[in-house]
Symmetry: C2
Subunit: 479 residues, 2 copies
């Protein structure tokens, strides 16, 4: 038992030290590694495979709505980045600059893209002339660079992987509709595939994207009660189009400015999966996104026929599932621990006694429930188990979220909740940035979003200044 204990013991308990638990999990589950480039991380096979599954499924949802993928250069000339004033001010402090190409010093510095609004604007300004050219609904999967001082795997790194959608439309209404549509796609994807419920809404002006008219966000609640901004969708109005001259002739042959949006999610989502579903044994991956949905683990594999039967089982399962087998010479206990730390959704144990009874044992990673099933119907039963597990994980996360939303009616209550109860705080806000600043200073809590739709007015006055307030805000400590 020495070895398997070692593997498990190496993970700090999440209640003891959540930050250390997170670091332990990403390393022990072999999701990532550090490189000699400060602030940049290596996506190892286990980590990258999760991203591949996110890409595949989200990309299909995008394409159903008419999104077309493109690829833009990774470099942006300094003069181009400067064309929209708010935008460059937002990003300049965190840009990496290329100043030498080959053996020559460049005449103009090139930014390694922190985001690609400016390049898309340049393309749109060349390719959009008439209302017939609209809308353009483009997206790219790529990496971007933001020079960060403090970094954490998947949550904040100098280079990260993401998708960035960029669209231009004839009307403000169409741009707004696309902005909200993409936010809803993000939220639906996270619920359906990642089993993570999202709080959706609009960012305050203080928290919105550099250059945007409106920023919408999905916010998830981590196990430690902190919020993770997990995706954003921006409506730029005609700000960028005016800065870049993106115009079209309408049906009456009049020249009009386009309206623009952008939207993105990143490898942060992997951080969300870890911190929503993980436990003290490691990662727990929702079956729909798990690179490996089931690990076959032979018991007493040295006995006659066990390995053969285990491989047969693996072959049979591989028709319907993403399956692996652990036929190494390690002990079953070690193999269980390895499967658990990696978050593989289920394992199937099969040994001589099982074979005798024509059965095997499915073990759920999330609940550790053991389900004995006949080998004749193992595929059907496993499909059921995985579906149930996916649903249960979402329901559990929903219940956790619901338990961690507290209403504050006045500032003392707000401060008390901020200090003692992890999670979101719902409270009214007058709309004044000064109140956001004061709250942040007093409690480290920031405004996460103003939820969509008709929301209960939980009081008439701002939780901070006491002036009349109509905006309900979700507040929280954030990653």
């Amino acid at each position: 038992m020495a070895k398997e204990k070692k593997l498990v013991e190496a993970i700090t308990s999440m209640e003891e030290d959540f930050t250390q638990w997170y670091t332990d999990v990403v390393k022990k589950a072999e999701l990532m590694d550090y490189s000699s480039v400060k602030g940049c991380m290596i996506f190892k096979p286990n980590g990258y495979a999760i991203w591949e599954n996110i890409q595949k499924n989200l990309d299909a949802m995008f394409k159903e709505t008419g999104v077309e993928n493109v690829y833009m250069p990774m470099f942006i000339p300094e003069s181009l980045l400067q064309k929209e004033k708010d935008h460059v001010e937002g990003f300049a402090p965190e840009v990496a600059w290329v100043t030498q190409g080959g053996l020559e010093t460049l005449q103009e510095r090139l930014a390694v893209r922190p985001t690609s609004e400016t390049l898309f604007c340049e393309l749109f300004s060349k390719t959009v002339q008439s209302h017939r050219d609209l809308p353009k609904v483009y997206n790219q999967w790529c990496s971007v660079v933001r020079w960060e001082k403090t970094t954490r795997p998947f949550l904040r790194s100098s280079e990260f992987l993401w998708q960035e959608g960029h669209t231009v439309h004839a009307t403000a209404e169409e741009a707004e509709a696309r902005t909200v549509q993409m936010l809803n796609i993000y939220a639906d994807f996270c619920e359906k595939y990642l089993a993570i419920p999202m709080v959706k809404g609009r960012k305050t002006d203080k928290e919105k994207f550099a250059g945007a008219e409106a920023t919408y966000t999905i916010e998830a609640l981590m196990h430690d009660g902190k919020a993770l901004q997990s995706g954003t969708s921006h409506n730029f109005g005609d700000g960028f189009p005016k800065a870049f001259g993106i115009q079209y002739t309408d049906k009456d042959n009049k020249l009009q400015y386009c309206h623009e949006t952008s939207w993105g999610v990143s490898t942060r989502l992997i951080g969300a999966i870890i911190m929503v579903h993980g436990d003290d044994s490691g990662l727990v991956l929702p079956p729909k996104i798990a690179p490996t949905q089931v690990m076959v683990i032979p018991i007493q594999q040295q006995k006659d026929g066990v390995l053969d039967k285990a491989y047969d089982l693996k072959d049979k399962l591989s028709k319907d599932f993403r399956v692996k087998i652990d036929a190494t010479d390690k002990t079953p206990g070690w193999k269980f621990a390895a499967q658990e730390v990696q978050g593989i959704s289920t394992r199937i144990e099969i040994g001589p006694k099982d074979i005798e009874k024509n059965q095997c044992v499915i073990v759920r990673r999330d609940t550790r429930e053991k389900i004995v099933v006949s080998l004749d119907e193992v595929n059907e039963k496993l499909a059921e188990v995985l579906e149930t597990m996916q649903n249960d994980m979402l329901e559990k996360a929903k219940a956790f979220l619901a338990r961690h939303i507290n209403d504050a009616h006045d500032y003392n209550e707000f401060k008390a909740i901020a200090e003692t109860k992890p999670g979101f705080i719902r409270a009214m806000w007058c709309g004044d940035e000064a109140c956001e600043n004061k709250i942040k200073e007093d409690t480290t809590v920031t405004s996460r979003c103003m939820p969509f739709g008709d929301q209960e007015q939980i009081s008439d006055v701002c939780v901070c200044c006491g002036k009349p307030a109509h905006k309900l805000v979700y507040w929280g400590k954030a990653y």
Copy 2:
């Protein structure tokens, strides 16, 4: 007819000016656009979608052989890049350097990866300890940067998209086997999906990769008779492992150096597709790789019921094929020209007379053959047409290749062929780099590869110097 003529006339005839024809096709087929970053290109939806299909199919072939995908940082510290001497000498002149991060000047310059051997070596040196850790068979899909003076879309640009596989093995034999295996996968993929036959073989020392012991290559023949190096696979032996200290303990507990390989194909393959299959009307895409396999074009669509029937047909086809419909208010002639210039494999014309007869007309892009089929069996018939077209395109390209290989037995013959006959020249070589240099100087022809297997000895002496020679070499003018 004015408009459709304009679309077609804008393409220069390939016999008149092949270079201009190529430039016209990539623009008119809307594969790419230029950006304000010198030497970098924009992959527009039509171009990127081809790359997505290449990725999807090739990645599946990789994974069948146990390849795992990862993602490494895009930056390489200068000191890391310098660890293997030949390697850094090969790449230094074309590296883009980041010297500023945020508002600070970096203490050490960072190379924007021109290729990632050094980063993978660093990872392997940390993660490989025992023979149980071997092999590692990693790959990444990413972009790389090589600061090029003269660029051409898809063929040579300062940033391009590619995959780079990197593997470490316990033995030299295993590394060599993997190197050759991946080259064969490339060649098989190009034949099966891109309908491009390849000449496979080993590079001479002069032409091999910086730091490699052996480089293998697939070389395709373009319509103008020039060769395009389309993919390479390198066996590094233990050179990199020694420079980076990648060692493992074998079964006898002895410390051994690993053996390493790398292999890559890039968006150059899109250039190959264009220049092998294209014609004076534009692009011709093999059905297996075409983002759109069939364009439904209604004829007299203003007439009652035509559009409805065309949309019904599109829906029916979409179950089995990648299909689009052109229901814009442009003329059928314009639509045909647009479908042809984009290389969409087939179009289906459907008008009032067809509907009356319960039929439609499939038109092959490559031969323009028209095939009248019943609407009741259109899916089956289209599947047949696409399969036949895919095979015919490969056979045509094979025949073209075979017609453009000429043997040279002495230097006068070699020079005469080089001047008058486009294509590959087969000739014997003594193995001396001086002969390669002389041939290049005299004729601009370079050694492309030494083919695998037992090759006919077409003479006993070097075609250049007349000394004894045992190596058969494919020579050619190259992109």
